[in-house]
């Protein structure tokens, strides 16, 4: 009799907790129709108490899903480089966006809106036979207006079972090398992102983003700082704010170049070789915020 009473109590608690979980299942969101729909979006690094790998994974999935809804989404590597150059990003693991600088950041990133993720966290508890696990946070798409164009708050959660809605999450994980995060967490991130992005309207149709990138005037300059090594400096002219890299033979593939702060569009990079071991031709690749690439070659 005692055992059946305990079983009934546990069953009742299960019902209560399940009901609570169901009540939390929807996405709380709002949209300001008075503001124009953004065409281009940059997703800033997410802030919160969740593990950095989990936050990066959520960010990456947002980028993918926003692009799938038709928005032009700036690549995170490009966004992070620009934020670093602005002095806004040092260590992604403790990044916090400055609400007062959002407008300035958006203009520096040259997009219509930035997606700010905050309070991104993961929680779990186990009580008797129940194991509740959830992942959630707050998102806002901000343009220049004081109010966000769109905001959402959501928490995806589950009891035990693991259901992945797509294989996308694992592709993202491989891309980021973000292993070590429990699969149950990844499944919840997948669910969280999908639920939240579903509340966004599709991007305006047939909207084109700016001009394709260009690169030209590639030049090599050689110097011998000492008897053992030769320094090669590569310069090029390219679309301002693009990410440039040069290839100069084996071991020197994809060397980053830097835009001169005083001369927009003028890029330079350098690397050292053992004396007499310098490649004869160089290839420079310019990649813009949206992943479009232009290349040019130069020779000594």
């Amino acid at each position: 009799m005692r055992s059946s009473g305990a079983a009934a109590t546990v069953a009742a608690l299960k019902v209560v907790l399940l009901a609570g979980a169901a009540a939390c299942a929807g996405v709380s969101h709002s949209l300001d129709p008075s503001q124009p729909v953004p065409k281009s979006i940059a997703v800033l690094p997410f802030a919160g108490s969740a593990d950095q790998l989990a936050r990066d994974c959520a960010r990456s999935l947002f980028e993918t899903r926003l692009a799938a809804r038709g928005y032009a989404v700036a690549e995170s590597a490009w966004v992070d480089r620009r934020l670093s150059e602005l002095g806004d990003l040092r260590d992604p693991s403790d990044y916090m966006s400055d609400a007062e600088r959002i407008g300035e950041v958006r203009r520096a990133l040259d997009v219509d809106a930035v997606l700010v993720g905050s309070a991104i966290d993961e929680s779990s508890f186990q009580w008797v036979v129940l194991r509740r696990h959830s992942f959630g946070g707050e998102l806002a798409l901000r343009g220049d207006a004081s109010r966000p164009w769109w905001r959402a708050s959501h928490r995806a959660g589950g009891f035990g079972g693991l259901v992945l809605r797509s294989g996308q999450i694992f592709t993202e994980l491989r891309a980021q090398s973000a292993h070590g995060t429990p699969m149950a967490t990844l499944a919840l991130i997948d669910e969280f992102v999908e639920d939240v992005v579903d509340t966004l309207p599709p991007a305006p149709a047939d909207e084109r983003i700016g001009d394709a990138p260009f690169v030209r005037d590639v030049r090599l300059q050689r110097a011998d700082p000492d008897a053992d090594r030769t320094r090669v400096t590569v310069s090029a002219t390219a679309s301002p704010r693009a990410s440039l890299r040069f290839d100069l033979g084996p071991g020197h593939i994809g060397v980053p170049m830097v835009e001169d702060p005083g001369r927009p569009g003028a890029f330079v990079g350098a690397c050292d070789f053992a004396a007499g071991d310098v490649g004869a031709t160089v290839t420079v690749r310019a990649r813009d915020a949206f992943g479009r690439v232009a290349t040019a070659e130069g020779a000594r």
């Binding site: 260590d91 090398s177 990079g269």
Partner: protein
């Protein structure tokens, strides 16, 4: 008399047949197939050997000498050598599955650095912490439950048992298999003849036969884990780094024209690149040397970045990514240096 002998031989053959072969027990979490399909990254922990002492095939290790010398420390106690042999076999077979497998030397090095006791490394309770530390999705534990001889009348058997448990980074048990396989010597069709089986029951079990048995049980256990037959071509192991840092100490921020020189040590034959925060990323590194080691070769990689005007930032983390290309996919891992650096190229 001849007929009697035939009947006796038949009887004696039937008895061991009933005791030989394969015994399997398996448990699989419902989501494991999906995770496996997605390419779970796993670390194979050092195996335990809990086979009973009675009838332990210690002497058989000598016949496996050549193999053991390659795959496990020949100076180790017999139980450790057996565990090392089966672990190496399992890792080898796992390369023919869709799972990503971390190089064992990296796991052993990390466990030693973290001062993880052998008992803790072999306990499934440690899975969450180990998965986090090694950057894997799941941890595979192995236990050699049988490495024994058994006698059935004039037939002797060598029996090998293996228990594999896969636990994910959240502590969830994804897969478990317990498998025992045996190989007989004597009348039952083993490698010895009718007479020698009576006089030297186990002598017929050569190192070659025992080796076949270990390879068979590990292959079949991994096939269980794989949910079916293994692929034909072994894939690469997930590459790892053990050391990432600046090649030389540097006081204060780096200035225009100075080189940020980075050194890393890890799996050979890979593509390695370093990141200075998110400011300058994927700077190429080149492999400069390879150190041979029976546990797995290790390579040294070096690379440099020359500061340019505009490279100004404070307290940036330094990290390295090691990547190994493969026909099916690219495997990569990111490492972080524990200190930070500043650039002042104004």
């Amino acid at each position: 008399m001849i007929a009697f002998n035939r009947r006796l031989a038949l009887l004696l053959a039937i008895v061991p047949l009933g005791c030989s072969g394969v015994d399997v027990r398996r448990e699989v979490a419902p989501e494991f197939a999906m995770l496996r399909e997605a390419g779970l990254r796993i670390a194979v922990m050092p195996f335990a050997t809990t086979a009973p002492q009675s009838g332990f095939l210690g002497d058989a290790l000598e016949s496996l000498g050549g193999v053991l010398a390659l795959s496990a420390n020949s100076a180790s106690p017999p139980r450790e050598r057996v565990a090392g042999l089966l672990r190496a076999d399992v890792v080898g077979w796992l390369q023919q599955t869709g799972l990503e497998v971390v190089e064992p030397w990296h796991i052993d090095t990390q466990l030693a650095h973290a001062k993880v006791s052998p008992e803790a490394a072999r306990s499934t309770e440690s899975a969450a912490g180990i998965a986090q530390a090694l950057g894997v999705d799941a941890v595979l534990y192995g236990d050699v439950t049988r490495w024994n001889r058994s006698y059935y009348v004039v037939q002797s058997f060598a029996e090998v048992g293996l228990h594999l448990t896969l636990v994910d980074a959240g502590g969830r048990r994804l897969f478990e298999t317990e498998r025992a396989e045996s190989l007989g010597a004597g009348i039952g069709g083993g490698p010895t003849g009718y007479v020698s089986a009576v006089t030297a029951p186990l002598a017929g079990l050569s190192g070659e036969h025992l080796r076949e048995l270990t390879r068979s049980i590990t292959r079949n256990a991994v096939a269980d884990l794989n949910g079916g037959e293994l692929g034909v071509v072994p894939g690469p192991l997930t590459p790892k780094l053990t050391v990432v840092g600046l090649a030389a100490t540097h006081d204060g921020p780096f200035r225009i024209g100075e080189r940020v020189e980075v050194i890393a040590v890890g799996s050979p034959g890979c593509e390695v690149r370093f990141d200075i925060g998110r400011l300058r990323t994927e700077v190429p590194m080149v492999q400069t040397s390879v150190m041979a080691d029976p546990r797995g070769d290790r390579a040294t990689y070096v690379g440099h970045y020359v500061l340019q005007p505009g490279d100004t930032a404070v307290d940036l983390p330094l990290g390295c990514t090691i990547r190994r290309g493969a026909a099916r996919r690219s495997l990569s891992t990111w490492y972080r240096w524990e200190r930070r650096l500043s650039l002042d190229a104004r």
